[in-house]
Structure formats: structure tokens, C-alpha cells
Symmetry: C2
Subunit: 239 residues, 2 copies
């Protein structure tokens, strides 16, 4: 009735199909995947996947890059990733409880993952909590900011906090599995980037799931005072 509920319906209808939702989810860490990989991820045949990808492309949610005989698809913009995360959050919190068989993959995913360009899951929340405890950071569901103490700390850690002058660049992102805010925005991205640089975390089996290395566990303990091993679930060995 107002300015563009039709456009909203069109976009939502694109996401509202299981196969396409799976594709978008797989792409929501910002990487580009080939049509074949996406077909496999969505558990459909290449022909079906192709039709879905064409619609997503046409709807402006994806962009494509041709490289040889491959076509690499990626999200059209970070906005799309934000939207996906937001819908995921609503689905997880407001939606009806879903009976889902828990797999060890899910546990790993809940433990540590990337959320477009920053860290999420128990790891992301633990880092945010540690920074809150140390008075490095202020954060709630709505907004965030770093303290001067935090700016100093982050500079020492190897994250540039000065670049944008008056620009504030710290944003909360409500964690889908933890249901509490973690650190996002430009600062969250830089922090995640630094953790990758230091070898603290690695991408796992071509997904958004992350593995915390031994170096990472040490670093988290020494720098942030986080005992990440202690956060592991006991049943993690199973399966």
C-alpha cells in the first residue's frame, strides 16, 4: 500500500524457496561459488539450479562473474547479506520452533562462523563479551561504540581504528545462534581480518563454519582472556 510492498514481495518470494534459500545462505559469507557448487549445496540438479540462479540474478540479489567455463555467483551487495542475516534471526527467534536433527556440523557452526565479513557464533559473542568486560566496548542490540581504552587496545592488537576520522564504525549484529549481539560493522570486519592474518581461525570445509586453531586458542587466552577450549561441547567428538 505504501511505496513498494510489491518489490518487497518479489524479493521475499525469491528467498522463499528452499533451494534458493540454501544457495543464498551458502553465499552469505561473501565468497563467490560456481553454479555447480551451488547446485550441490541446494541438492538439486544443475538444470534446476540454473533456473534458480537466473531468477536470483534477475531479481538483483546476485551478481555473476564468468571465468572460463565456470560462472561464479556472489551476493550483489553487503546489504543482501544483512537482509539474509535479519531474516535468519527472525526465523530463529520469532518463528515456530523447528524440529531439526542436530548434527556435529551444526555444533561447529554454532561454535564459530563468519557472518559475511565478521566473526559470529560462540566465538564472536565471546570476543564481544571479553571486550565489554574490559571496558573496551559498549554494545547492545541497537548500537555500539569503542572506548578510548578500546581504541588503544585494538591498535596494539593490530587493528587500525583511526582511519575514518569522525566516522563511527562499530555496529552490533544479533547472533543467530547465541541470540545476543556480537561485533559487526567495519570494526568487526577488521577484527575478523586480523584474526585470519594471525592464523587464529581458518575456514572449514567450504562453508561459513570456522575452525579455531591452537594458535588461536592461545591468542584468545592471552589477549582476550578467553578460554575457548572450555567453550567446546563435550559431545563434539561424536560423529
Amino acid at each position: 500500500m505504501t511505496i513498494d510492498s510489491g518489490g518487497m514481495a518479489a524479493v521475499a518470494a525469491l528467498i522463499g524457496d528452499t533451494a534458493r534459500a540454501r544457495m543464498l545462505d551458502a553465499l552469505s559469507d561473501g565468497r563467490a561459488l560456481t553454479a555447480g557448487e551451488l547446485a550441490f549445496t541446494a541438492s538439486v540438479t544443475p538444470s534446476t539450479a540454473s533456473a534458480h540462479l537466473a531468477r536470483l540474478l534477475d531479481g538483483g540479489l546476485l551478481a555473476v562473474l564468468r571465468q572460463g567455463r565456470h560462472r561464479y555467483y556472489r551476493l550483489a551487495s553487503p546489504r543482501v547479506a544483512d537482509m539474509i542475516e535479519q531474516i535468519m534471526l527472525v526465523a530463529a527467534v520469532d518463528g515456530p520452533p523447528r524440529y531439526r536433527p542436530r548434527s556435529s556440523r551444526d555444533d561447529d557452526f554454532a561454535m564459530a562462523r563468519s557472518c559475511y565479513d565478521h566473526l559470529a557464533g560462540r566465538l564472536g559473542v565471546a570476543i564481544a563479551d571479553a571486550m565489554l568486560r574490559g571496558d573496551y566496548l559498549m554494545l547492545d542490540d541497537d548500537a555500539g561504540a569503542i572506548t578510548s581504552k578500546g581504541a588503544h587496545f585494538l591498535t596494539e592488537f593490530g587493528v587500525d581504528t583511526t582511519l575514518t576520522g569522525r566516522r563511527v564504525f562499530c555496529r552490533p549484529c544479533v547472533d543467530r545462534t547465541e541470540r545476543r549481539p556480537h561485533l559487526a560493522g567495519v570494526l568487526g570486519a577488521k577484527l575478523a581480518c586480523r584474526c585470519f592474518e594471525l592464523g587464529w581461525v581458518q575456514r572449514l570445509h567450504d562453508s561459513r563454519t570456522l575452525k579455531v586453531t591452537d594458535a588461536g586458542r592461545n591468542g584468545l587466552r592471552e589477549t582476550f582472556g578467553i578460554e575457548f577450549a572450555g567453550l567446546a561441547k563435550p559431545d563434539k567428538i561424536a560423529a
Copy 2:
């Protein structure tokens, strides 16, 4: 493939129907509307609307309040409103250009509207801009914060900025029509609330569209240095 792309698909499928999208849009200012009003808004018969509302309710997007022979439906939570706004934004910016006949209602909507609980449209952006110019506020697409000067200014204006101690409560919200951030979060809500109190703005014809009163125009000029009349479109008289 990860934790809940199925849930996301279910939620998105609910929004991905024109009639339901219109209903959600109509509800996204936070008010509660009856089934009949929503049927009218969505241009469907009561029976069709009832089916849609049942599905939205079942999917956890709406809540209902029975009162006499009426049933008042409202969004289940502010999260849902955020999600809707985010999808609208993606639809407006990333989606394919939509040929839509512009009506004067659309112009009014783009001029001043509420966005769940804060001000949006040209009005919302103008206020944010004025506060940026006066160094009351820092704001970009990702995050926001008020300056101490801004806190002082807002206190004088009649907005309590002290309530939450360490809590930061200023958040940007990318405007759908202006495509630039305006002020949201707790602070945005309080500011909007104060503007209603002062009689600067009024709700127009049962929608999210707002009318800026003469008092509002004066107040905006004197307090914020905004010439809001000058922002009006010349064709506003038509129809």
C-alpha cells in the same frame, strides 16, 4: 545447508506474497489493525485475508489481540519491522527498477513517514543531516553516536539522553526513499515521540505517512535550522 536456511525460506515465503506483503507493510508502523482493515489494505476478500493472517500468525510474524468481535493484528516484535525495512531497502536499491505510477500519496510518503518507531523520509534524513551539521551526531550506514554537545542539545529539546548509563542507543537506519541513513534506535524513537508530543507531526490517513504541521515547520526552522517547506515538491498540490 547451515543452521536454518529452511526457516529462512519459510519466513521469506510468508512475505513473498503480494497480499501478505501489503499487510505487513501496513502493520510496520507498529500499530494493530483489524482483519477487515487489513483485508481492505491488501485488496482481498475477508476470507482470503483471514487465511493469510492465519499463516502469518502461525509463522510467528504476527500477534493477535481479540477485542469484542474484532481481532487486532500487529507485528510480533520490532525485529520483524527491522526485517521488513531491510527487505524493502534491498528491493528499492538492489532490485530491478520497478515501473510504478507515482501518486501524490507516494510523494507524501517520501516526504515524511514513520519507520516503526522513528522518523523517516525526507524529514528523517533532514533532521539527521541537521544534527550532523551541528556536530550533535555522528552517523553513517553502519553505526551512530551522539556527541556530548548533542546530548546537551537533546536534553534541552526535551529528550532524555541519560537513561541507560553505559548503554549506547543511537543507531542508523538506511532510508528507503532517500537511500541515506536517518536516526533510529532508542534515541530515534524518543526524538520522534517528542516531535509527536510537540504537535510537529501527525499521522495521516491511517498510514505511516506523516503530516508536518505549521508548528512543526516553525519548530524545525528554529530548533534545527531546517526549512521544511522548501523541501516540499511543487506538484504536491495536485490531487
